[in-house]
């Protein structure tokens, strides 16, 4: 097994930052900003020196945050993590509230602000709950114990005779009691996290494990929450970028005189960047039309029709992920074999809020509000682009209109900042849907070759698996097989590509689970039984059982055109099994997905309501990639960059759905925003085959027909 960092490294597309980061805020500044009280920090090593003034450098990969208990009974948590709909603002606050025994509503989360929150690599890879969660829990428990000690001193009583409940510390007889704010009054105390502190065991959780509604929910349903695209500042201008006609085009010449002739318009030409801004959006649009730019287009770019050949032919030196044994010997022992190539298209994240940023310069310092999963990464990008120190760049991330791995970059932030510097006024840039579809980045396309065999008893005898370009996530087989070779072949993608929900796992698990069903069908063994014969991972077995029970797998009916299928997988501490029922119309081959059940286990559940929402949301989003989402392109142009041409799942596409949440209070909590997406595509594919339809080897399954 590779560890988590290696599995991220296998995603060649994860953005890379420098290995070291220095943050500096001394104790005086710290409390000037926070107000008095006590603070528990956690950073790698010892960031705070004895006198609280010097700061050591800390490793980028470590986790940082701090909790402040103020003089007004207010608890504030500072973390560089960001909220994009996965509801960590809620679940991380639940964790802190639990340990401090205070109401959920008394926790304020300050998130993703490079000036206020400690460094964080970014919100991706399902890391917030398994990594930030336990650290925040320990920090909150450390704060609780520190308050208890301080109360003991103040009350002159043995610390063991004090209990903490409801945000108060009282003696066991209930005679003396101090609120947190009374204890914190007038203090400026920073303590490191106590790694050995006792935290609340899951079976005693009162706030965690419950369905706390989304933090600030009313602000969202009333439209008062300001996403980055909603923000305004006095004197703000509206920015537009003149885009090249195709990828890789270079600017030959540009004439901005007509644009500049429009009153109020500021136009910028800087390298390949051409942009305009104006005091109102109508004028900005008109100025954009008035830009006369001539571009040299890059010839010979591969199109959708030839992309899969291209990926295999242009593979770079392979990365040998996992090999042992002799494949041909294993295949020679096999009773049934499969040898198939799978194809996976590029797809778009298409977050409903497109990229947006508002930038404001103050001298040579810039502040940018933008929707990004990596505010500190965007700070880095701005610092590089403008050749100014990172300390001169502040990036603030308001809770954002989703990301799904698609908002790691700071493109709109750079554009807004460039225009704002020229205009000497704040500038907002909001990408159009067409820009978002074209100039963001895609989930990688991929080619996967699977050669495998199983003997008459239903045991796998050989497993050879090659992934070209789509990535190494979840590439290892979860099944027990002695003879195997599993390789990821990186390719320089012709389209800009990057992270996606579940990363390459959606592709790798689709291929793996399809191959498993082909072998089971050819052996005449029930696909659930076949999987169980080759699976020793207890947690995955459990979700398969849970899913089969809820679905009624053993009692499934078999009418004409009806088919049932399954898919399962695991990654990043999340275990999923999905079963689906389809109807393939015998007259015209039309596929309808009637029903799906997803069972998911990610350790101890922090918030069952939001977990179920993530699981079902993953299944629904996964339907798109499974059935009909694909990016069409030719000569460096995206041909379907609109919702009217790029089909995404809608109300009428959603089958009857059920989520089964397996709560393992004995296991650490893991993230849930990604792994539940894995099972739906192979489940539908295998159900179509079971219905007597074709055995399909491409995602989207209905791509060319939909």
């Amino acid at each position: 097994m590779r560890n988590q960092d290696e599995s991220l490294a296998a995603e060649q597309y994860e953005l890379q930052g420098p290995s070291l980061h220095r943050f500096s805020m001394n104790r005086r500044q710290f409390f000037r900003y926070l107000g008095g009280g006590i603070a528990i920090t956690f950073v790698a090593g010892h960031a705070w020196s004895e006198d609280g003034t010097a700061v050591a450098s800390v490793d980028d990969n470590s986790i940082h945050a701090w909790i402040h208990v103020g003089e007004n009974n207010k608890v504030t948590v500072y973390t560089g993590k960001v909220e994009v709909g996965q509801n960590i603002r809620t679940s991380l606050a639940q964790i802190v509230a639990e340990e401090l025994t205070v109401p959920f509503d008394s926790i304020e989360m300050v998130m993703g602000d490079t000036a206020l929150t400690p460094y964080d690599r970014g919100t991706f890879g399902s890391r917030s709950i398994p990594q930030m969660g336990p650290q925040l829990r320990k920090a909150a428990a450390s704060a609780r114990e520190l308050l208890r000690k301080m109360a003991a001193k103040k009350l002159n009583i043995d610390v063991n005779k004090l209990k903490v409940a409801n945000g108060k510390i009282s003696d066991t007889k209930g005679k003396m009691s101090l609120s947190f704010s009374e204890i914190a009054q007038g203090k400026e105390l920073i303590q490191p996290i106590d790694e050995s502190v006792v935290v609340t065991p899951p079976d005693q959780w009162k706030i965690c494990g419950t369905a706390v509604p989304k933090a600030n929910a009313a602000r969202f349903v009333t439209g008062t929450h300001r996403y980055a695209s909603d923000m305004t500042l006095p004197d703000m201008m509206f920015g537009k970028v003149s885009r090249p006609p195709s990828f890789g085009a270079t600017l030959k010449r540009v004439d901005l005189s007509r644009a500049r002739a429009i009153p109020g318009v500021v136009a910028v030409h800087d390298g390949n960047f051409v942009g305009v801004c104006a005091p109102d959006p109508v004028t900005a649009e008109r100025a954009l039309m008035a830009v006369q730019a001539e571009w040299e287009e890059k010839a010979g770019q591969p199109s959708r029709d030839e992309i899969f050949d291209y990926l295999v032919k242009n593979a770079k030196a392979l990365r040998d992920n996992d090999s042992n044994g002799d494949i041909s010997a294993g295949l020679a022992r096999a009773t049934v074999k499969t040898n198939k190539t799978y194809y996976v298209d590029y797809i778009a994240h298409a977050p409903l809020e497109p990229r947006a940023a508002l930038a404001k310069w103050d001298g040579d310092k810039v502040t940018v509000w933008t929707g990004t999963q990596r505010p500190f990464g965007v700070q880095e990008e701005l610092s590089d682009a403008f050749r100014i120190p990172k300390e001169s760049v502040r990036v603030i991330m308001p809770d954002t209109g989703s990301g799904y791995g698609g908002k790691h970059t700071g493109d709109a932030a750079l554009e807004a900042a460039r225009l704002a510097r020229e205009a000497r006024r704040p500038v907002k840039v909001v990408w159009t849907r067409e820009e978002e579809f074209t100039w963001a980045y895609f989930r990688p396309a991929g080619v996967i070759q699977v050669k495998a065999g199983a003997d008459a008893s239903g045991k796998l005898t050989a497993w050879e698996f090659h992934n070209y370009n789509s990535g190494g996530s979840a590439i290892e087989t979860q099944y027990d097989v002695g003879q195997k070779r599993i390789q990821f072949h990186p390719v320089d993608s012709p389209l800009r590509q990057g992270s996606y929900r579940g990363l390459a796992g959606t592709a790798n698990i689709f291929a793996r689970e399809s191959a498993m069903d082909d072998l089971a069908m050819d052996l005449g063994i029930d696909p659930l039984e076949f999987r169980m014969k080759n699976l020793s991972n207890e947690r995955l077995r459990n979700v398969l059982h849970a899913c089969a029970n809820a679905y009624g797998w053993s009692r499934r009916s078999k009418a004409k055109g009806q088919g049932h299928g399954m898919g399962c997988g695991m990654e990043k501490g999340g275990y999923v099994a999905t079963m689906a029922e389809v109807f393939v119309n015998p007259d015209n081959g039309k596929v309808t997905v009637n029903r799906a059940v997803a069972a998911f286990e990610c350790g101890a559940i922090i918030n069952p309501m939001h977990l179920e929402n993530q699981v079902l949301g993953c299944v629904v989003q996964g339907l798109g990639g499974a059935l009909f989402e694909w990016i069409d392109f030719r000569n460096g142009k995206i041909l379907n960059p609109l919702f009217s041409r790029y089909r995404v799942p809608r109300f009428e596409d959603v089958p009857q759905l059920e989520a089964v949440l397996v709560d393992r209070k004995d296991l650490p909590s893991a993230g849930a925003g990604e792994a539940p997406i894995y099972g739906i595509a192979p489940a539908i594919r295998n159900a179509i085959a079971d219905a007597g339809g074709e055995r399909l080897y491409s995602l989207p399954l209905l791509g060319m027909r939909a």
């Binding site: 994009v84 409903l352 497109p354 929402n613 949301g617």
Partner: protein, 149 residues
């Protein structure tokens, strides 16, 4: 140009071809109504015009003289959330919630026409509204919870 938005009269100085969405968001700072596609294909910009669900991104303001425009900012009453807003919260019918204002407005319009909609009616009348987070089952449940109360 004079517009009646949420029972309030507004005067805006804008070209008549400008979209209602731009006027709401960029001229009047009513940013609850969202941009999602600009081609009436996602429903994020849904408002009510004389009670009818309308995609504000393709609606020129010049067509709205003497009409009643209702946006997400205008449906709460006396500080109380509209029942649809409350139902969305109670049913956790969102994740990032960027689609929520458009969803809520589309649902308000649906319930005006059909106070007790079937699941089929909900799915077909809301089909033009996209939730990329995939919370459709929760939204259906939220709307159904209103008809039964």
């Amino acid at each position: 140009m004079e517009l009646n938005i949420n029972n309030k009269a507004y005067t805006v100085d804008v070209e008549p071809t400008a979209s209602l969405l731009t006027v709401l968001r960029d001229y009047l700072d009513l940013t609850g109504t969202k941009y999602g596609c600009g081609e009436a294909a996602c429903g994020a910009c849904t408002v009510l015009v004389d009670g009818q669900p309308t995609r504000s991104c393709i609606t020129p303001v010049s067509s709205l003289m003497h009409k009643r425009i209702t946006t997400i900012e205008g449906i709460a009453r006396d500080g109380n959330l509209h029942p649809v807003q409350q139902a969305f919260i109670d049913n956790d019918a969102f994740q990032c919630a960027y689609c929520a204002p458009g969803m809520v407005m589309a649902a308000v319009a649906l319930l005006e026409r059909h106070p007790d909609p079937t699941e089929e009616q909900i799915r077909s009348s809301m089909n033009g509204n996209i939730c990329r987070c995939g919370t459709y089952p929760r939204i259906v449940r939220a709307i159904q919870s209103i008809k039964t109360t």
